[in-house]
Symmetry: C2
Subunit: 305 residues, 2 copies
C-alpha cells in the first residue's frame, strides 16, 4: 500500500500497523491483506462480491477489522459483506471506508453489510467514513446495514462521517427478537455542497425488545441533510429516537421521524431539535480568548464527540 492508502487506513480505522485479531483490508476493489483466527473466519464469496465473516459461538473479546480504501479516481464498487455472529459471542467489528479522489471522475463505494446476530451475542460495530483529495470528482459512499437480532442479543452501532464525503445515502434496517437491544449513535457533518441522507427502520418484533437511535449532525455552508427514522413497535417493547442538529451558514436540514405503535404495550418516543449554536455559548468562549470561528469550532467538536 502507498502513503495515501496508509493515511486513509489511519483515518478510518485508527490503524497505524497491522491490526491484531482477524482482519481483511480492501484497497481499490481488491482484498490485499487478510488474517483469520481460530474463532473468526473470513471467506471470500464465491461470486466475488464480498466476504463472509463467521464468528464462532462463545468467541469472547475478539475484534475484526475490515477497512476499505479507494485511492483510484473513478472507481465504483458495490461490496456485500455478511457477518454471522454465533451465540454468546462478544466481538468488536471495525468497518471504515476512506476515499481519496485526486481525479475528475466520481469514486464510489456502496457497502452492504448484513448481520445475523445469534442468541445472547454482543456486537459493537464501529464505522468511520472519510474523504480526501483535491480532484473535482465526487467522493460517494452509500452504506447499507441490515441487522437481524435473535433473543437477548445486543448491538451497539457507532458511525461517524466527519469530513470529505460529497454524497452519502445511509440506510440502516434492523429486526429485533425477544429481549434484543439495539443502540445506535450516528454522527454526521456536512460542508460545501455536500448532501447526506440517513434512514433508519427498526422493527421491534419481540417482547422486551428495545431500540435507542440517536443522531447528531452539523450542516455547514450550502450542504443539505435529511434524517429519517422509523420505529415500529409490534410487541411489548420500547423505542426511542432522537435527532439533534446544528444548522450553520446556508445549510438545510430535515428530520422526519416516524413512530408507529401496532401493539398496546409498545412505548415509543421521538425527539428532534434543529437550531443554530446559541449566541451566549459563543460569547462565553470568546470572553475566554477564542476568536468567533474558533469558538464555533470548539462547540461543534464537542457536540459531535
Amino acid at each position: 500500500m502507498d502513503a495515501i492508502q496508509k493515511h486513509l487506513l489511519e483515518e478510518v480505522a485508527d490503524l497505524h500497523a497491522v491490526p491484531t485479531g482477524a482482519y481483511n483490508i480492501r484497497a481499490n476493489g481488491k482484498s490485499v491483506e487478510r488474517n483469520t483466527t481460530s474463532t473468526i473466519d473470513i471467506v471470500s464469496k464465491e461470486d466475488g462480491t464480498g466476504i463472509d465473516i463467521i464468528i464462532k459461538p462463545g468467541t469472547k473479546r475478539q475484534s475484526v477489522h475490515i477497512p476499505v480504501v479507494l485511492s483510484q479516481a473513478g472507481l465504483t464498487e458495490v461490496v456485500y459483506n455478511d457477518f454471522y455472529i454465533g451465540e454468546d459471542a462478544d466481538v468488536t467489528i471495525i468497518a471504515g471506508c476512506g476515499i481519496h479522489n485526486g481525479g475528475a471522475e466520481s469514486s464510489r463505494h456502496d457497502g452492504i453489510h448484513r448481520f445475523f446476530i445469534g442468541k445472547n451475542a454482543k456486537v459493537k460495530y464501529v464505522e468511520k467514513h472519510y474523504g480526501s483529495g483535491d480532484g473535482t470528482g465526487k467522493r460517494i459512499m452509500n452504506p447499507q446495514t441490515i441487522v437481524e437480532m435473535e433473543e437477548d442479543s445486543y448491538m451497539e452501532m457507532d458511525t461517524v462521517q466527519i469530513k470529505g464525503v460529497d454524497s452519502t445515502k445511509r440506510e440502516t434496517r434492523a429486526v429485533l427478537g425477544d429481549g434484543a437491544k439495539l443502540v445506535v449513535m450516528e454522527r454526521l457533518m456536512t460542508h460545501g455542497s455536500q448532501t447526506a441522507t440517513s434512514e433508519f427502520a427498526v422493527d421491534l418484533n419481540g417482547d422486551g425488545a428495545r431500540a435507542n437511535v440517536t443522531s447528531r449532525s452539523v450542516a455547514k455552508e450550502e450542504s443539505t441533510q435529511l434524517f429519517i427514522s422509523k420505529i415500529n413497535g409490534n410487541a411489548k417493547c420500547s423505542g426511542h429516537t432522537e435527532c439533534d442538529a446544528i444548522i450553520m451558514d446556508h445549510a438545510k436540514i430535515s428530520a422526519v421521524p416516524e413512530i408507529t405503535a401496532n401493539h398496546p404495550d409498545a412505548e415509543l418516543i421521538h425527539e428532534a431539535a434543529i437550531g443554530k449554536i446559541a449566541g451566549e455559548q459563543i460569547i462565553k468562549l470568546m470572553t475566554l480568548g477564542l476568536a468567533e470561528q474558533e469558538a464555533e469550532e470548539q462547540i461543534v467538536n464537542g457536540f459531535l464527540k
Copy 2:
C-alpha cells in the same frame, strides 16, 4: 329544526338557544338561520358552494357561530367557507359539525375553511366534531383548514373530535408572515373500527413567526390513527410540534412529524410519545375506590381536557 338537530347543535356548538352575535346555521345541506351584525357580514357565495364571512377591521370581542348539522342519512356535502378578518380585529369563531346517521348509507361533510387574517388581527377558532345515531351508515367528516396570516396576526385553533366520527381526514395548512403566531391544540379520540388522519403543514415564512402545534389523542379498541405534522422554517422563526398519544386495546397509532430548517435562524423542535396508560396511575385511582374501567376513563378524560 327537530329534536335530533337541536341535540347535535348543543354537542357541536354548546348552543341551547340562538347565539348572540353573527351566526349561520346549516342543516341538511341548507342555510336555515343567519344573523349578521354591523361589523360582521355573512354572504352566500354566488355559486351556492358556501359562505363568505367578512369581519371589518377593528371589530373587537365579537363572535361568529357557523355550526353544521346533518340528520338525513346518505347526505354528502362539500362546503367552502372563507373568512376575511380585517386588520386589528379580535374575534372568536365557533365552527362545529354534528352528524346523526340512523340509516344504512354514509353521511359525509367536507368543510373547506380558508382564513385570511389581516395585520395585527387576533382569531380564536373552535371546531368540534360529533357523531350519533345507530344506523349502519358511516359518519364521515373531512375538514380542511387553510390559513394565511399577515404581519403580527395571531390565531388559536382548538379542535375536538371525541365521539362518533367513523372516518376523518383532517388537513390544516398555514402560512405565517413576519411576527405571526399560530397555536394549535387538537384533541382526538377514536374507538370501534374508526380511522382518523390528521395532517398539518406550517410554513414559517416571516421573521419572528412562531407556531406551536399540539396533538393529544386516544385510540381505543380496533381504531387506527395517523398524525402527520410538517413545519418548515424559512426565516428567523421558531416552531414546536408535539404529539402525545394513548394506545388501548388493539388500536394502532402512527406519528410522523417532519421538521425542516431552510434558514440558519430557524429553531424547530418536535416531540412525540405513544404509550399505554401507566399501570401505577390506574392502581392509584383504584385504591381510591374506582373500578379499573372507571379509572381508565378518568385518566383519558383528564388527558383530553
